[in-house]
Symmetry: C2
Subunit: 395 residues, 2 copies
């Protein structure tokens, strides 16, 4: 079956998470992604735990479907080879600190001279412009600076980091969107362009209504615990044996919830008739609802609420996520066979396309696994040249 991005070639200079996450999506959707790695050590994340048979499970889970070519970009011949590859591809992606590619003599200006149709995507901590541009950043830093930590956490508690690196991941997602938009646009304008995505910018872009709340009220948003900031009831409740998340997002669901709880009268109590009223009278409403949830187990409430159509769910730990029937039915946990590490489970592809679905074709590459293959295929190098450059530590 055909793949959506078949025929699109991507030269992938990225490391760690934001960039590799973006090129993983491109690869899952069918692009040919050629990962350029430092000889000997490769992508930094090859050194991140946990390990399976000395292979980084971290690296493996975000580098499937890619090919690995080692190349020393500090050597003149390494740069020449890179520029040769740039001529053959559609997209270059990097997530170095701004200025690094220029220092190597491989900035966008140089690359577009070689290939004016190239789309050059850069994901960085602070972006390629602005006073902080050249500063280094990691996920935790942009989560801290971008505001998301300040609104995450238990009520009255400390600012809390989101438990996965969404600073990187959202930058990877926006970067992917930018690349695809530039590819679409290239058909009209006939040339490439630069896509500049900053992790910090992306954190601002996902703040949702926090900015609006602050501007309208003048009150600085704080960690609000597990409550929705403006909808009631929309939070977890303790049950007889655990917790259940309940999201009665509108007046109809509020009435249904009251019926399910056996407190139908409450639905028509004038203190709680509309969402603005439920917000206003939250401190009266919560204990009543909470008391009733203590009467049954999470599973019992799930069945009752599912039946009546009130959105709800258990708070799953990772072991439960891996067994969830819906997640399994959607192929969101896939098992990929790695030549060294064996079978490994990882997240599947969340973009389900009816005609050209994404596929997982290969495990993450071993460092330099495809150096010879790619140099022969794309640059017509012969064995002799490859051997010579190998001895010169070019790859």
């Amino acid at each position: 079956m055909a793949l959506s991005l078949e025929g699109i070639k991507v030269l992938d200079l990225t490391r760690v998470l934001a960039g590799p996450y973006s090129t993983m999506i491109l690869a899952d959707l069918g692009a040919q992604v050629i990962k350029i790695e430092k000889p000997e050590t490769g992508d930094d994340s090859r050194q991140f735990g946990p390990y399976i048979e000395d292979e980084s499970a971290y690296f493996m889970s975000i580098n499937r479907n890619k090919k690995s070519v080692t190349l020393n970009l500090k050597k003149k011949k390494g740069k020449e080879i890179l520029l040769g590859l740039v001529k053959e591809v559609d997209v270059v992606v990097e997530n170095f600190r701004p200025g690094t590619m220029e220092k190597l003599g491989l900035g966008y200006d140089v690359l577009k001279e070689v290939n004016p149709k190239i789309i050059y995507a850069a994901a960085s901590g602070f972006g390629h412009t602005g006073p902080y541009s050249k500063r280094p950043a990691y996920d935790a830093v942009v989560q801290a600076m971008g505001g998301i930590m300040s609104i995450t956490g238990q009520k009255g508690g400390k600012a809390t980091r989101v438990g996965s690196s969404i600073g990187d991941i959202t930058a990877g997602l926006f970067c992917t969107i930018g690349i695809l938009a530039a590819l679409i646009n290239r058909n009209s304008i006939g040339k490439g362009q630069k896509v500049d995505v900053a992790m910090l910018d992306c954190q601002v872009a996902i703040l949702e209504n926090a900015i609006a709340r602050y501007i309208v009220s003048g009150i600085v948003p704080q960690p609000a615990g597990n409550r929705h900031s403006s909808i009631v009831p929309f939070e977890p409740f303790d049950t007889k044996d655990g917790e259940i998340m309940v999201a009665a997002g509108n007046d109809v669901l509020w009435v249904k919830l009251c019926k399910a709880l056996g407190i139908e009268k409450l639905a028509y109590d004038e203190r709680f008739l509309t969402n603005p009223l439920r917000n206003k009278n939250y401190n009266e409403l919560r204990p009543i609802v909470a008391k009733h949830f203590m009467e049954k187990t999470t599973k019992e409430w799930q069945d009752i609420l599912d039946d009546i159509g009130v959105p709800n769910g258990p708070i799953n730990t990772i072991d439960k996520v891996l067994k969830n029937p819906q997640i399994l039915a959607r192929e969101m946990i896939v098992e990929v066979e790695h030549p060294r590490a064996g079978k490994m489970k990882m997240p599947g592809i969340p973009i389900k396309l009816s005609e050209t679905p994404g596929t997982i074709r290969t495990a993450a590459p071993i460092l330099g696994q495809h150096t010879q293959e790619i140099l022969k295929e794309m640059l017509n190098m012969n064995n002799e040249e490859i051997e010579k450059f190998k001895k010169l530590n070019i790859f």
Copy 2:
């Protein structure tokens, strides 16, 4: 200046957040987005606070650049008009509960008969397949079920909801990627396809290394506080007057950090030489580093660490985000003039394109603001017909 997605027409049946977030990105990048809303009440989120001059700031912040057409899809003529519009556009996006469009007689099968080139994107809680497919969901439910809550929170504390609706937002991002990939693919296969994105799936896709950690160790990941799960030191430290996030992501940065703290000897202490060792001996390392951070203010440490190149940042609240020089320099806070609500600040566009940058051209529409304009322009309706259908409550 041209826009990347100029010429792409999107019929937007979405409400609340996941869908509108996706079509906002398409609109920011230049697509013509025609938002179809229920007559009289419109998008549910028009009822979500906070309000400015009776206009929902929530709605305004994610519906800029769109046009609003009211249409009653329960009436036969309303459906006819919708199908007429489907013929004229490239993409249809909806985020109803699966089955809703079919019940209206407007499922993908019907729409693709009318326009085989249509790309039909559906963002839903659980997706269009699988045992939970028809269940309702909101952000809080998928954050709970997808695992992210179980790994977010203070160490030893409760599972914590991420403070913005990343269940919706990540689905909006993946949905946008799916739409753009399908548009690219349409040039090859000459027909459209269905893009099915589930919020729950997207939560699994952003779990980062939590799945790998669980599989390798057998230990169920818990909220880990603000520490990185595998890199040390990579967490906030208390200072003389607040906190500072520090991310020494590799051995070189570790050495630099020790120099900055005036404890250079520690860098070469054999207990802390490599990241695996720093992980292993974390309980010995943390108090030493923490003690030194108490000696200066956050601002003093920021200057010292910036100078030496160690990634760091303050934990900004929303008021500080709105004043951050980098965020402002990147135009990530924009002011949009709304005809009723006046000037309103909202996040800018995080995808910075060099040749065809996204733009914010118009504020969010008033309900039905463009009904006449679009029906005249796309379906050649005249004033008389429009008046007639208005009386019949078609819009």
